[in-house]
Every structure is written in structure tokens, then in C-alpha cells.
């Protein structure tokens, strides 16, 4: 078995006892990427030089202060390409950012580096994180390591596939409507969407600023906790990052679920949730009950409007956030353009893919004078109702348990022609973004040979209770050692 199939804490032990060096781990990761990734397509680029430099620094740190070095010291990681990396091309999966080499690191990237993590590359994603299958990347379609005819989920598909295929021990993704949790579920890995403001967005190329959060994707819940603890917390560069202390998240992992009240939202089991997914959820709930949790049905009545509200608010922010890609600094317009408008139009038409263009058009429309009240303002009211639903339910229960997605991974190309079907993939994940809540997808079983995740939602800044429940689900299903076929050599 590859060393990259081990948990971060186990690797940490071996790094500290000098059984393995950070340099060896980095080389193994790079070697595996070279051998396995051509078939998976998770990486847009590898960062050999950076990885070697960081690995050598990590080895020095581990040698000088084995106990003081942080848990992530020497661990091979990779970042979704929406995160700015100083000196390393960052494209957000878009043609228009081809060649963009940021002069600065995203706060999360800097924090991972400060924790001694070793970056082996940048990961594919849907263009500007807009999509649920990774098929909207301008560069390549990542496939699901469990079945190469299927999508890995999106938009952090590269991040999920890289962990599943053991090409990195932990990756960072971003979640605007489910973009961490959905691919985590499809690829059989753990994915955490922190509460809005728990993690800095500075250096995250914005999709929808009021919904975006950066979070980890890993093999185990504990691994995710280690990464989350490294990146979470206030940031003077991000005014929307909360100054509330992060607290000791590790303590939550071993508390069990005895005495917890867990809600299962009725609306999240409605039509569209496949039988296989339902079965995995039911089994997980039964196990949690056996462990002493109390399972109750709850209702989130605004759920049915959440998707519509999301697809007004998110595109509205997109239309503004992507305005800076105008052919002046980013993208190249038609050289023969005879007017400013023509130059803008050609640069943006050439630079953006169809889904991004669709959302820009949608967002521009809903913010236009005369339509603002009917769409944007109304959607904000629905957003408030969705948040109130959750607030009410969290007075009755400690956390919510639901499917992460209605189905397991679908076939490549299956939903490309039908944007609405694609959007529906996120129906169970995006309400948590609208409300700013904490959420985790944790592997809980298989349906027809494909991984299926369970989603745990907690209140605002309820990362600890999410980790606690997810750790229990993980312990009870005991799946994380299983690697996709052909990736454990």
C-alpha cells in the first residue's frame, strides 16, 4: 500500500520517528501523480520545485523539533486552482486566467505552508468553481477514480479525486453551494464546508463572495480536523472572517454521539433521492442510534425555494466578481476591435466558457434596474427564511444528518446538456451556504459500487459537533482504508 493511503496522524508518527522523510513522501506523491493522474486528470500542474524546497524545510523542522513541528509538517497536499499561490500559475479552471501568476498567497495557502505542509500541485475544477461535475473546466475533465466513466463531482472535483486516488494526503477545495461536499461524496472522501467566515477567503478567487468558503478534503475526519485547525481563524485581510476563537476541534473527534439529538430533515429525503443513497443514509442513522444518538425527523419548509434563491444570489455576485476579467489585465480581446465595448465583448466571449457566460448573463439580469426587487431582493428574503428554518431546527437538535447528494456519481456527459438537472445536484448542499452553516460530507457506504456520503450539518460555527457526528459515522462504517481500484499500488 502506498504511504499516501495512511492517515495524516500515522504519517506524522513515521515522519517524527524518521521512518520516512518529507522528501520521500513528496517524491512518492509526485511519482504517483506522474503514473496515475494522466487517467484521472485531477492536477492542472505539479509544483516539483516548490514541493522539494518545502519538503526539505519540513525535514529540517522535524529533525530540529520533532514534537514541536505541527501535525501537517511534511504532509503532501495540493490546492484547488481557485486559490492564489505566489509564483505558481492560478487559472480557476478558466481560459481567461491562463498565465496568471499571482504575486501573493491566499491566506489558507500561507497557513498551510506555515504549518509545514508540502504543496505538490494545483487541482482542476469547474471554471471559477461553477459546476457540479468538473466538466466545466476549460482545461480537462477530471474523472471519478472509482469509475473513470463517471464524474468526480464538482466543483472541487480535482481536490476530491486527488485524495481518493492517493495523489495527495489532503487538498483544499472551496464550497459555494456544495462544491466540497458533493465531490467528497462522489469520490468517497471526507469534505468540510466550514461556517461562513470560519476560514479566510483572502486569495480565494471569488465565485459568490457571500457563499464561498474554503475547506479541506481528506481520507479521514481526523485529517480534515487537522487541516481545518491549521487554516481556520480570523484574518486581517478578510473582514468577513470571524474573530470568534476556533477552539479545540480535536477534542470533538472522540466524544461519540451518546446523548446527541440528530435531526433528519424530511425535505431532504423527498423525490429525487435515489434508493441506494437512501439505504446508505438509513444504515448510518441506525448505527448512530445504536451508539446512543437520538434521531428525530425535522422539517425545513423553505428548502424547496432555496435552489431558486441560490441561482439568483450566486449569479448576481458572479456578474460583479468576474467583471475584473475584462481584457485589460486578464484575457485578450480581438486586436481589431474598433470600440471599447467590442474589446470587452470579445475578450470575455473568448475567455469564458458557456456556463460562466450563462451565470454572468443571469446575474446581470437579476440586478438590473426594474428587476432587482423581483429577483435579487426576493431571493435575499428567501435566504433569510432558509436561515430562520435552520435556526429554529437547531433549537431542537444538535446536528442534522442527510444525504449529501440525491445520487451517487453520474456519468460523464450525462447532465452537460441540461443545466437544471446539473443545478439540482446541489439541492441538499446549498441551503447550508445560504445560511452560512458548517457542514461535512463523510463516506458512509456504496450504492452499486459507487461511494455515497452522508452530510452532517451543524449550526453556525458548529464545526465541532459536525466533526463529532462525522467521526462516529466514519468509525461505524469503517470505509476509509478502501482505495479506488488500481490506486493502491
Amino acid at each position: 500500500m502506498t504511504l499516501l493511503g495512511l492517515s495524516i496522524s500515522e504519517l506524522g508518527r513515521r515522519l517524527r520517528s524518521r521512518e520516512v522523510s518529507a522528501r520521500e513522501l513528496a517524491l512518492e506523491a509526485l511519482d504517483r501523480i506522474a503514473r496515475l493522474d494522466p487517467a484521472v486528470g485531477a492536477f492542472l500542474r505539479t509544483t516539483e520545485e516548490l514541493a522539494m524546497a518545502q519538503a526539505e524545510a519540513a525535514d529540517r523542522w522535524l529533525a530540529a523539533d520533532p514534537q514541536g513541528a505541527p501535525p501537517l509538517c511534511g504532509i503532501p497536499v495540493a490546492h484547488k486552482d481557485v486559490l492564489c499561490t505566489s509564483g505558481v500559475e492560478t487559472t480557476a479552471g478558466s481560459r481567461i486566467l491562463e498565465g496568471f501568476v499571482p504575486p501573493y498567497d491566499a491566506t489558507v495557502v500561507a497557513r498551510m505552508a506555515a504549518a509545514g505542509a508540502v504543496v505538490v500541485g494545483k487541482l482542476n475544477c469547474d471554471e471559477f468553481a461553477m459546476g457540479s461535475s468538473n466538466e466545466n473546466s476549460a482545461y480537462q475533465a477530471t474523472v471519478n477514480p472509482w469509475d473513470h466513466t463517471r464524474v468526480p463531482g464538482g466543483s472541487s472535483g480535482g481536490s476530491a479525486a486527488a485524495v481518493a486516488a492517493r495523489l495527495a494526503c489532503a487538498t483544499l477545495g472551496s464550497d459555494t453551494g456544495g462544491s466540497i461536499r458533493l465531490p467528497a461524496s462522489f469520490c468517497g472522501v471526507v469534505g468540510v464546508k466550514p461556517s461562513y467566515g470560519r476560514v479566510s477567503r483572502y486569495g480565494l478567487i471569488a465565485f459568490a463572495s457571500s457563499l464561498d468558503q474554503v475547506g479541506p478534503l481528506t481520507k479521514t475526519v481526523e485529517d480534515s480536523q487537522l487541516v481545518l485547525s491549521a487554516i481556520a481563524g480570523a484574518d486581517p485581510h478578510d473582514s468577513t472572517a470571524t474573530t470568534e476563537p476556533v477552539g479545540d476541534l480535536a477534542a470533538a473527534l472522540h466524544q461519540g454521539v451518546q446523548g446527541l439529538r440528530l435531526g433528519v430533515p424530511r425535505e431532504y429525503l423527498a423525490a429525487g433521492v435515489g434508493a441506494g443513497v437512501r439505504e446508505v443514509l438509513d444504515q448510518a442513522c441506525q448505527r448512530l442510534e445504536r451508539e446512543g444518538a437520538e434521531l428525530v425527523e425535522v422539517s425545513l419548509p423553505s428548502t424547496e425555494y432555496a435552489l431558486a434563491a441560490y441561482y439568483v444570489i450566486a449569479p448576481a455576485e458572479v456578474s460583479s466578481n468576474l467583471a475584473r476579467m475584462d481584457g485589460v489585465r486578464f484575457g485578450r480581446g480581438e486586436p481589431a476591435a474598433t470600440s471599447l465595448v467590442e474589446a470587452y465583448e470579445s475578450a470575455r466571449h473568448r475567455g469564458f466558457g458557456p456556463e460562466v457566460r450563462r451565470r454572468i448573463a443571469l446575474g446581470t439580469y437579476v440586478l438590473s434596474s426594474g428587476y432587482y426587487d423581483a429577483y435579487y431582493l426576493r431571493a435575499q428574503k428567501v435566504r433569510t427564511l432558509v436561515a430562520q428554518d435552520f435556526a429554529r431546527v437547531f433549537q431542537q437538535v444538535d446536528a442534522l444528518v442527510s444525504p449529501t447528494a440525491p445520487t451517487a456519481a453520474f456519468l460523464l456527459g450525462e447532465r452537460v446538456a441540461d443545466p437544471l438537472a446539473m443545478y439540482a445536484t446541489d439541492a441538499l448542499t446549498l441551503p447550508a451556504n445560504l445560511a452560512g452553516l458548517a457542514g461535512i460530507s463523510v463516506p458512509a457506504g456504496f450504492a452499486e459500487g459507487l461511494p455515497v456520503g452522508v452530510q452532517v450539518l451543524g449550526p453556525y460555527l458548529g464545526e465541532a459537533v459536525c466533526l463529532r457526528v462525522a467521526a462516529a459515522v466514519e468509525a461505524l462504517s469503517d470505509l476509509w482504508h478502501q482505495a479506488p481500484p488500481g490506486t493502491d499500488g
Binding site: A92, P102, A106, L204, A206, S210, E317, S320, R324, S368
Partner: protein, 484 residues
Amino acid sequence: MAELEPVIGLEVHAQLLTKSKMFCGCRAEYLGLPPNSNTCPTCLGLPGALPVINRAAVEMTIRTALALACRIPEFSKFDRKNYFYPDLPKGYQISQFDLPLSLAGQLEFEVDGQRRACGITRVHLEEDAGTLHHAGEIHTSNFSLVDLNRAGVPLMEVVGEPDLRSPREAPQYLRALRQLLIYLGVNDGNMEQGSLRCDANVSLRPRGQREMGVKVEVKNMNSFRSLEAALTYEVGRQTDLIQRGMTIVQETRGWSELEQATVSQRGKEEAQDYRYFPEPDLPPLKVGRELVEQLKAGLPEPPMRLRDRLLDQYEISAEQVLVLTERPQDAAYFEAVVAAGAPPRAAANWQAGPLQALCKAARVEVERCSISAGELADLVRMVEAGEVSGSTARELLAEAFESGASPAALVTERGLAQVSDAAQMDAWVDDALRQLPKAAADFQAGAERALGPLVGAIRKASGNRANPDLAARLLRERLARPGE
């Protein structure tokens, strides 16, 4: 047809004198730097960069709003104003739409000695754009160069109510506002360099009618003179159109200094839909009552009230008051000179006259020049007491201004104190009469102007130290006595 009444409202943009930009740590001072050197990921609008509100800019805006008697709501927020232009790197300007930092105030100003008040709709905060550079004119240049050194500089907008009723009032309103901003230390008042900019909305209506006519926005006026000229032109243009039975088109027009006319820039159809929405990168701003009270307590005496007080308290003319209240530092200097013992009128004359001329030539503010208020007071007192002549005092002031010495000390040091000693004066008078017997004879024969050369001779003999008034008096006494 009823007489037409102009209705004018001004929108004034003022760059704030903060250390750093509105949303990042770059310097707010951007002039004279190499292009794009005063930038960072945030003001370049690089993907992923985020804004952080500059507290000093918020405080300066609130202070301005308080000085304009505005209401400061407890909650305020920033919004995005979306439009495409190459000097706007993010494709939107962070501004304030429906919840500005302040609302509903007023500004007092003077027109032809009459006090007027103009309503202030709001004072809000936003960020400046970059600048574009072309070879020659924008329309003929085949390239545009973008410089983002100015991008993100804090810009405060003071929106005035349409309360002005003639083009003459507009520059007076603007002068009063400019002076207030300078008093508050929030803006340098430089219209030429564009740190203070003014747009105007102009419409006409029959006098007595309440509803407004069709509004034209006039831009590109960068001096008081061009503001008045542009408004005079625009009012004339609209009057002419209405009198010819034509309708006014709602549009944006620019003032052309070259043509001395306003020129259509953009019609209503081309008006931008800015698609304002709340800036998701910034949490709403909560302005505590305590902060407001603290800022209110720290406000300087407003210029209008300061002028009233100086006029009231010291025996100086209205013209002198105007000069001495140009800046609050001028008034403070004046009051310090008076407090150090100089008579107010003389102090005002010396400060507004010789000292200000020296300061202007040296491009230094009076409070920063080498002559302290106490030193000026000493000199003024000596002149007033006849201890030193006015011309000598002026020369010494200039010299001390350069060298940093005390002018009063120079008087003593050089033995330049005016001589009024009787025996010495008599001796000089004797000499003069001996030297210029013809002048003496002419004076006695009734030629008044013959006294001049005699006084001159006394001054010359004394090395300019003889008190000229005393010399003249002694000569008259002597020459009125026949037989001598």
C-alpha cells in the same frame, strides 16, 4: 412666459487626506510616483484580493458630516456600483447606495455679503478610480495606458440639495465647502490636481413652480471660475431652448474650457445601469454613538463662526478677517500674535501683508515659518511704539524669515533702534540745514515738498535710525522761527 428660475445642485468629490487607501495599505498620496508603483493585489483588483475598510476615512467622513449638521445613522453599508471602464480594475466601484454614512445636513455660505444655506442630501464614502494616459487626445490616441496609483484612494462625496438659484451661488457654495474641508483637515482643496472635484445638476423652471424641470448634469469643471462659467453657459443654453419652445433633453454634458461651452457627452438612453447591490466582501458598518460624540467634540470652530467671532472680538476689518480665516492655522497664528501683546489691527496688517507675502514666496504655511507668533508680536509692538521704523522692520522681518533669527533681537544687535533722543536729533537737524540751505529757504518760502530732502538728509546721516516723524516735526519747528 413666466420668468425662468435656475435650480442647481452640486455633487462634490473630495479625496481624503488619509495615510493609506480606502481598502488597502497602499499610500493615499499618489502624485509623482512611477506608474502602477503604489499598488497591491487589492487596489489592482487581482482575483482573490479583498477590501478592508479604512477606519480613518470613515472618521473623516463622519467629522465632515457632523460639521455639515448631518444625521449619522447607526448602520451603514457599502455597495458595489458596477460598470466597465479601463480605469476601474475590479469592474465595480465600492461606494454607498441606500445606507450612506450620513444624511440631511446643511451648509452656510455667503453671496454678496448675504448669508445663504444649502441643504446637504448626504455625505458618503467611496473609492477613487485609476487614471488613463494617452498620446495627445483620447479620441485620436491609438493606445491608453492605465495607471492604478490613484485607484482606491478614499473619496468622499458631498451631495448637495438643488437649493442653489443662480450660477453665482455655486462657486460661493463650493468655496465654503472647500474651506470647511480644509478646516477639518480632510482634504487639501486642490481643484487643479483633482483632489477636489465638482459636478452640477442644472434645470430651469418658471419662477414659483414647485416641480423641477428636466435635469442636465454638467461635468469637468476644475476651478471656481470654470464652475461659474459652465453654469452661466448652461443656464443660458437651456433658457434659449425653452424660449424657442424646444424641450430640454436629460443628459450629461461636459464643460469645454477651449470652446467655453458645455458639450453633450451621454444621453439618457446611454445612461448606465449601475446594478448596485450590497458589497458582500464587507460587513455592514456599525457607527457607535460614543464615536460620534467623540468626533463631534473634536470638531474645529467652523469658518463662518470663527469669522463672526474675530470680527466681534478684535477691531479689525471684514477684509482682514477673510484673509486671516483662509485656514484655521492662519486664525490661530493671528490670535497667538495678539495674545503675545501686539495690537490686533497692526498684527493683522503685518500677518496678512509682509509675512504672508514672504510665506507665499517661500511656499510655507505661516505656522511652519521661522517667525513665531511671539516674534512677530515683539516686532509689531516695537513698530507701534516708534522704536523701529516700518521699513526697517520689514527688512528685518525678511532677513529673519530667511535666517531663522528673531527680528527684535536683530534690532538691538545691529543698533537699529530708532533714535528719538533730543540732543542727537538736534545735531542731525543742524547738519541737514547746513547742507541744504536752499531746501530750507524754499520750505520757509512755502514749498512744502522741500521738507522731503531735509528729512532724507537726516535719515542718511543717522544711518536710517532717526525717527522720521520726529525729524519732520523738529524741522517744522526750526524753520518756522525766523532769524535763525
